[in-house]
Amino acid sequence: MANEVMLWQAMNKAMDIEMAADNSIFTMGEDVGLYGGSYRVTEGLYAKYGEWRVRDTPISEGGFTGLGVGAAMVGMRPVIEIMTINFALLALDAIINMATKIPFMSGGQFPMPLVIRVPGGVAKQLAAQHSQRLEHTLMNVPGLRIAVPSTPQDAWWQLRQAIQSNEPVIVLEHELLYFSKGSLDTNLDPVPMHRALIRKEGDALTLISYSRSVLLAQQAAERLAEDGIDIEVIDLRSLSPIDWQTCIDSVSKTHHLLIVEEDCGFAGAGAEIAATLSERCFFELDAPVQRHTGLDLPTPYNGTLEAATIPTVSSIINAVKQLVQSGE
């Protein structure tokens, strides 16, 4: 039965049910314990599971993310929370040089059931050092899986799937989504972790997006439908691997492709999606693939400027209209 919950509650429930089922799971990060987590995802777990399984850490992102790597090598299932993606820059050695390289360079000897949960994205006037998206950096790392849930239901499924996986998984959580509501049915059979989902069907254009931008795209799609433009909205749900088949099938139907992402456009996730789908769907396309992305600019503190650096519902509507008309 479905309940309306906030995304953080779905993740909190996912953590709880997994930790109850497997005592090799522990979570670690800044303020995840007594405080309950900056976005409440670990609320209540410290009291229930104790300090060894819910560990407040010093501010040492490189150190405790690397600790998760070492623990995963000997069969623990660490869930490391890095307070924001911006701080994860200090942990990139552990993520890129260690977590993804050890299973490979040992010739396949070691498990790496490591989950790294990272809030990120442009939130509300947090300024340049707290408003980044790093998916482009992480996508270029073979052996790293990246989940980008946009709904409570996906957050519930994907966090649990990430914890159960024996491979390193990064869960990129958008800071503005923790308190967004959606339905959660804990009895539903899970969708495979990296499969894309079509959020709205349509035949005028394929809009591919992920994380918070999908919600904006869905709102844009509803307004466009009122104008008689029926677009298809794909929520990728995963940036590595990417479910190409769902994308290709859609583009083969609509013949137009727009990619919407909050991250900077240059060498970003959208660049990979555009390149691959141009290669694989060239003869299906009626117009060049377009990207509608964040500006190539550090995020300004000023609220008006900040809002103008990333796609909005109305800017998405304009981008769709331009592309649909260009193909006519």
């Binding site: 040089n97 040992s106 396949g108």
Partner: protein, 350 residues
């Protein structure tokens, strides 16, 4: 100390020296490529520490780790094959000299990024502590690694949570080409551990018996629940940083330094790289193998005949290791991808 332990340590030291010298030769023959960091001069550290460890303890090492793996019991052929990049290497030919792994022997890797051995060790130790097991982690690093952020982050967490780690600093006084007085304000590395209330001591790394005893008592304290311990073992590498850095300048620099010459000038004057001769090594009195073998001869713990026999056995096993490596095939691209996806299992991703 028991005669059998001493003999076994001497044999491992001889094996370590012979193996590394052979590796240097194979590098010049083109059988080994890339970076090759050799251990001659430092044998007493790996041998003394690892002989005092239990089979249940975990070893985390650096990129100068062939000897740690050897002493841990990884067969010489598996290590040589790995240096050759062959399928039968201990990392399937995918890791190479800097990335030896042997899960079965709890040899948790050689790491190529300076300062990575600390977090790997704290992670393993966290798992041990959570499960309340009697095991310990031995974390190796060099003097050049103590200025890396992870050193301070990890020592703090290890002490804060009372993790069972023995931190072993192999202080060979050089971070690649930079001498310790030029890279650290505090050059007595063990003193840094007091910032984290970790008991620490300085050990003469030219004396394997001293290293063994210090390790034994540090591990005992860890198993008694005292928390992390720290040993700074003063040692000396006879070769350059890697085969890419023949570094013959360096022992000569030391020699010259004794004569009050400016080491920088001496370094610049050096043009032809060559390995230091036995005379040069003994002139600076820093060979740990001679130290142990002389001690054993004098105490009548080993006869000259047995010593020669031991050397021959060691030479034979190094030769066999080379043959094993030469006969092993190269890994396939398919094997490289299956190593990448080794933890995939039956999971349905999409």
């Amino acid at each position: 100390m028991e005669r059998s332990v001493l003999k076994s340590m001497l044999k491992d030291m001889l094996l370590a020296r012979a193996f590394e010298e052979q590796a240097a030769y194979e590098y010049t023959q083109g059988n080994i490529a890339g970076f090759l960091h050799l251990y001659p001069g430092e044998e007493a550290v790996a041998v003394g520490v690892l002989h005092a460890a239990e089979p249940g303890d975990y070893i985390v090492s650096t990129y100068r780790e062939h000897v740690h793996a050897l002493v841990r019991g990884v067969p010489p052929g598996k290590i040589m094959a790995e240096l050759f990049g062959r399928k039968d290497g201990c990392s399937g030919g995918l890791g190479g000299s800097m990335h030896l792994f042997d899960k079965q022997r709890r040899f948790m890797g050689g790491y190529g990024i300076v300062g990575e051995t600390y977090p790997v060790s704290t992670g393993i130790a966290y798992a041990i502590a959570m499960r309340e097991l009697p095991e310990a982690v031995i974390c190796f690093f060099g003097d050049g690694a103590v200025n890396q952020g992870t050193f301070h982050e990890s020592l703090n967490m290890a002490a804060l949570w009372n993790l069972p780690i023995l931190f072993v600093c192999e202080n060979n006084r050089y971070q690649i080409g930079t001498e310790i007085h030029r890279h650290s304000k505090v050059t007595e590395v063990y003193k840094r551990a007091c910032a984290y209330k970790i008991p620490a001591e300085q050990v003469n790394g030219m004396d394997v018996i001293e290293v063994y005893k210090a390790t034994q008592s540090a591990l005992l304290r860890i198993r008694e629940g005292t928390g992390p311990q720290f040993l700074e073992i003063e040692t000396y590498r006879l070769r350059g940083h890697s085969m890419a850095d023949p570094g013959s300048y360096r022992p000569k620099v030391e020699v010259q330094a004794f004569k009050d010459e400016d080491p920088v000038t001496v370094m610049l004057q050096e043009s032809l790289p060559e390995y230091p001769s036995a005379e040069q090594i003994s002139a600076i009195g820093k060979d740990n193998i001679e130290h142990l073998s002389e001690h054993m001869h004098q105490a009548d713990l080993i006869s000259p005949e047995e010593f020669l026999r031991m050397k021959q056995q060691v030479a034979d096993s190094v030769e066999q290791a080379v043959q094993y490596a030469l006969q092993s095939p190269e890994p396939s691209m398919e094997e490289a991808f299956s190593a990448l996806n080794c933890n995939r299992g039956q999971e349905v991703l999409i």
